[in-house]
Symmetry: C2
Subunit: 151 residues, 2 copies
DNA sequence: TATTGTTATACTCTATAACTATA
DNA sequence: TATAGTTATAGAGTATAACAATA
């Protein structure tokens, strides 16, 4: 028929995608129960440590475009979790912040993230889990990956 | 302000998504140069070892729905890489197969996959790379993950 | 002119379900 | 009735660029 070529499963990237996607999809299902997507969770989490952030800063922080931030913000404002205000000095600038409801929701979402990670990687021994962490951080460091990952 | 909660970067899943998405996006860019998406590549690769496959079997093999397979097939037929034929015995059934052009393209795409994996994980030592592989396969096995991952 | 944000467009992947044709 | 496939619809993420308002 045709020449034998390397199977997709010969690649580390193949297994990495399989694990990452499965874990992310589990996570997406969990947070969907709280009425948000994973991207929205990251957005809310980024605002949790700040009084407010501009769309531009948030875009850099999340590794997304300004346009994507606008859409996300629209949805979260619609859900009552985020507020948008104009800057008084520079009237081009906006301030995005958590509403009281949004701020209350972040710890619940963080607990879901804890639970998801525990379930996903709890099948590894403590040593294996630590080694996996080390290797992943090593890759991020050596390859220069950045930005919060969004699925 | 608010209670301190665990940072997203405390989770293995966070780093896994970051690495996986970066590697997948690199890969997507590479194969885009050949005019296909990653999902299309997996589709073509699945047909490479067979004379033909039904949409149903392909859906199971790729972990996708029949509807998604239909759309993918439409695009690949449009690109001249795949053919669709009716079964003579059971006129509900279809046969999806690689065109000559499609069959010629798979080894090129496989070479891109090889190169992408080498670049992505070449920053690890041979031992570290092997250990990462082992841990990922362990997770797939113990958690029962399945289906080809599509980004 | 440059910058801040929003809006518009388009494409991919995903999921569900309605629908057609055939068995 | 059940099965094989296609088609329709909708939501989410991504990317690019056009656009309005302000500096």
């Amino acid at each position: 028929m045709s020449d034998a070529i390397s199977d997709l499963s010969a690649h580390t990237g193949y297994w990495m995608r399989m694990v990452s996607n499965a874990v992310s999809q589990d996570f997406a299902r969990r947070v969907a129960g709280e009425g948000v997507t994973v991207a929205e969770l990251v957005f809310l989490r980024a605002l949790y440590d700040e009084r407010s952030l501009s769309p531009s800063l948030l875009a850099i922080k999340m590794g997304m475009t300004k346009g994507a931030i606008s859409k996300l913000a629209d949805r979260l404002i619609e859900k009552g979790l985020v507020t948008r205000a104009e800057d008084e000095a520079d009237r081009r600038a906006h301030h995005l912040a958590l509403s009281a409801e949004g701020r209350a929701k972040v710890p619940q979402l963080a607990a879901l993230a804890d639970a998801n990670d525990a379930e996903a990687f709890g099948v590894l021994s403590v040593e294996e889990h630590a080694e996996l962490d080390r290797l992943l951080r090593l890759l991020v460091e050596r390859r220069g990956f950045s930005s919060v990952p969004i699925d």
